[in-house]
Symmetry: C2
Subunit: 174 residues, 2 copies
DNA sequence: TCGATCATGTAATTGGTTACATGATTGC
DNA sequence: GCAATCATGTAACCAATTACATGATCGA
């Protein structure tokens, strides 16, 4: 999903500035995507030119002025169209698999060490997601809750599968 | 894993031209990555300039001449270094999850239809991988066989998890 | 004769990231 | 006084894709 769709989606719920979009995004969306100001601000400018969103300058006294964007009717139509496009399952670009593919080129201890460290890091992420669960559930709608559940299941599966691979590569001599 | 590492890895096994690299890549690596000529040829040129690989022009009579690249000692060292870097688990950029996140904005039938079509497409991919299994196993080393097994397990888990999500969204009224 | 395979390459575009630049306010 | 938060933006860079350009050979 590209930045345009995401921003349209978030602006459907509430008018916001680029700064606020980034914040909201970091809370609710962080697990499966990530955006930086360097892409948000140019995207908003472009979308305004295309008539998908409107900008209103909000003068603030104790903080810098902010540009509050709201979605237009045209933007809503565009968002609907984008959501209804068929989903093609993307190639799973996995650093883990790419590395494993070339494991014959490094020493056995090195292999075990690498996979073990990787396993720790994904377990860690799973725990982080577990911890964030109540907070996310508070602001999420039913579908977003399903997102979270899906993410947790996939993380658990990932842990299981990496563990299996670790066992297997321990058995490979040489 | 970036293109440089992949090309170095493949060239460790055998000296090859860009065209041959692409072919080999498509067979053994296609499941978890993908490269086009538009990235392979410039990458090879750059790597040659950096001294990671050498080029030898092979004059052919019944086909266009080809540039056969072979890895240098410096290239081997670089490849070793790259393989030993710790793996950081990347963010899982999932179109499915991004779409699900905004599912409240489309009709129920639309949602079910979309997920159902998606489910079919990943089942299809799983079958394709299953079919390619014997062929891949023939040319793969033990670690590459583990890659395949890992991929198959993850695909199966994916199917299960999408099915669960489908059931859940069927139950959500509105 | 038409499409597939062999073979290399460039240009334009996509879709971002990171670093840089600015500057006020608030809390410790 | 220093770090964090608020707030916007540009420039340089990265890593790739797609489309375009060329052209020979071989098999059905």
């Amino acid at each position: 999903m590209n930045i345009k769709t995401i921003l349209l989606g978030l602006l459907t719920q509430k008018s916001m500035s680029g700064y606020e979009l980034k914040k909201l995004f970091s809370i609710s969306f962080s697990y499966f995507s990530g955006l930086s100001f360097g892409s948000i601000y140019p995207a908003l400018k472009k979308m305004e030119q295309q008539g998908l969103i409107n900008m209103r300058l909000e003068i603030q006294e104790n903080a810098p002025n902010k540009k509050v964007y709201s979605i237009t009717e045209q933007g809503k139509d565009e968002f609907q169209d984008l959501l209804k496009q068929p989903m093609q399952s993307e190639r799973y670009r996995s650093e883990f698999l790419s590395r494993l593919f070339f494991f014959s080129h490094i020493e056995k201890e090195e292999r075990v060490w690498l996979v073990d460290a990787y396993l720790k890091s994904i377990k860690d992420e799973k725990h982080q997601l577990d911890d964030a669960r109540p907070q996310i559930n508070k602001i999420a709608d039913p579908f977003q809750r399903e997102c979270l559940l899906f993410g947790l299941r996939m993380k658990a599966d990932m842990v299981k599968n990496v563990e299996k691979t670790l066992k297997a590569i321990r058995k490979i001599k040489k």
